[in-house]
Amino acid sequence: MPDTITREEICQPENMIYCRTPLLTDAPLSYCPGCGHGTAHRLIMEVIEEMNLQADTIGVAPVGCSVLAYDFLDIDMQQAAHGRAPAVATGIKRLMPDKFVFTYQGDGDLAAIGTGETIHACNRGENITIFFVNNGIYGMTGGQMAPTTLPNMKTATSPFGRDVQTMGYPLKITELIAMLPGTYFVSRQSVHTPANVRKAKKAIEKAISYQKLNKGLSFVEIVSNCNSGWKMTPLESNKWMEENMFSFFPLGDIKVPK
């Protein structure tokens, strides 16, 4: 009996309790440790795999920290200009109506520069799915104020806190698009605890399966952290998110099919 066990001996199927989803590539994630983007990616790809949709999926990556999503997701993808993913997805879905088409967007992308494209894709009831990762900040460009930045929250461009009198109020875009007749399913989730991950996965499953019904747009917001942009440790950022973000952006389904 050897007194040490090797990596190969450990990595046996019978010992496996958790593994990389096969639809995630080998590329190391470029996200900061502790960031929610990686978990969100994983959940989406898990569902696509479980629903056997790889060959039928076309994804659209945004401009933001997840601009390189196509490096990690083993599906056909297009990279869209900042904010325009819903228009790009509209072009794809209208011409490839049998495909599963989704966008993956941050809050700056979806609710600032791309507000018009978001609202109109929702209002036309495009049969696409939007995954919206709301971290209340511009992660990629170094932590500037986002449309979803909370009142008094400090960012690189609101160093003394967001003054709503001059900088406007955080935008509840998800509630806004839920009011439009073109949206079919709208849900807000988070991925910072195992329980939340399970709920988020359910919402993602619904959003994806509803697309097949051709009854309108399905939309899942994931309230997430940006520990780097918020200048916190991952743990602190999750705690801060629970204490501050969830009261403004309450979790749960916002619009469900009747």
Binding site: Q54, Q78, L95
Partner: protein, 374 residues
């Protein structure tokens, strides 16, 4: 039996788009080109061929819808007029960076700003020099008749897919609005998804087990690789310059003086050539059909033959820069432009040509004879 109809330029273009087997149109209304979307809607293009026709919320959305469709290998287009085309520039740059084929129509109106809805040729720089960011070019076709508005729809798609490039049809309000007879071709069938996958294996059509995933992106943060990407693009533009130049020579064989003009201005100059010839003046017209690639070699040749070139444009002088570069000082090049939506008249441009070159030549000839009074 030939199918010949009397049509407006914009409508002929839209008909050409349908018959070319186009898959999708995305656009936003703006004068003087709204007839394109109106015609496609009235014609029930969706029922005729199954093509998608969608009024977008803006020109920005339109161009990015085009991007999404083009990346799936579909024949897609948008059309607009000057202010709308300005809005699209980031999107066009993304299409250039990802080498996506598509067709764009600019029915140019006068600017800057909201300007006027009258015809103009003041968007030449934007179309030919790359209006968006980065080092890129589009193929730019300049129709001078309603027939060419129709023909260039199919030609544009063919060139776009041949080179994986954006093709812009640079028209103007006069060509878009005027009516002429047009000869129509048979319907080209739309391609099936299977045919697209076969012919264009780079498209995002869903990753199947037999291939790696397809990614459409213009991003590469590694400067070494990004330079290689850019050099490859430049090679493509060079090849296009070498192989795709199109122009029309009108009465150039014995010409001593030359007009250079495209689109509406070329129509005016063609008439001016007739007027001048009737008076015994040997005038010709070179009409560039492709503005990129520009017919530089042809102009260089002609510069050895003629005594003077007048470039006529409905702009303050844009194409004239390319004419001067082509001629490289071999012969005097002058510019005549009308602005703000005014279309010059044939006798007006003929007069300018005479004033610039012919009368002057007579004076200098007489000066050489020693009769000049000072």
């Amino acid at each position: 039996m030939k199918d010949i109809r009397l049509m407006k330029g914009n409508e002929a273009f839209a008909e050409g788009v349908i018959r070319a087997g186009c898959d999708g149109y995305f656009g936003y209304p703006i004068t003087p080109q709204s007839e394109v979307l109106e015609y496609l809607a009235a014609q029930r293009a969706d029922e005729r061929t199954g093509m998608v026709v969608l009024q977008a919320e803006s020109e920005i959305a339109s161009i990015h819808m085009v991007y999404g469709g083009a990346a799936c290998g579909k024949k897609v287009l948008t059309s607009s007029s000057s202010p709308g085309i300005s809005l699209m520039q980031e999107g066009i740059s993304f299409l250039a960076g990802t080498e996506l084929p598509c067709l764009l129509l600019n029915v140019v109106r006068g600017g800057p700003g909201l300007g006027t809805i009258q015809p103009s040729q003041s968007d030449y720089f934007q179309a030919v020099k790359g209006g968006g960011h980065g080092d890129y070019k589009m193929i730019v076709l300049a129709p001078a008749s309603v027939q060419e508005m129709y023909d260039f729809a199919k030609l544009g798609f063919d060139l776009a897919f041949k080179h994986r490039i954006q093709v812009m049809i640079l028209s103007d309000g006069a060509i878009g609005q005027m009516m002429e007879k047009v000869e129509l071709d048979d319907q080209v069938p739309r391609m099936t998804n299977e045919e697209i996958i076969q012919k264009y294996p780079w498209t995002t059509t869903g990753k199947t087990p037999d291939r790696e995933r397809n990614i459409i992106t213009s991003l590469d943060l590694n400067p070494v690789r990004q330079e290689i990407i850019n050099r490859k693009l430049q090679e493509k533009f060079k090849k296009i310059q070498e192989t795709e130049v199109r122009f029309e020579r009108i009465q150039c064989d014995d010409a001593e003086y030359l007009f250079v003009a495209y689109g509406s201005s070329a129509r005016i100059c063609q008439k001016a050539v007739m007027l001048g010839r009737a008076r015994g003046l040997k005038i010709g017209l070179l009409r560039p059909i492709t503005l990129f690639p520009f017919p530089s070699d042809e102009l260089a040749k002609l510069s050895k033959q003629v005594h003077g070139i007048l470039c006529v444009e409905m702009s303050a002088g844009q194409m004239v820069e390319d004419v001067r570069l082509s001629v490289n000082g071999a012969v005097p090049v002058e510019h005549y432009g009308r602005l703000g939506g005014i279309i010059p008249a044939p006798d007006e441009v003929l007069h300018v040509l005479e004033e610039n070159f012919i009368n002057e030549t007579m004076i200098s000839e007489s000066a050489a004879g020693g009769e000049r009074k000072s």
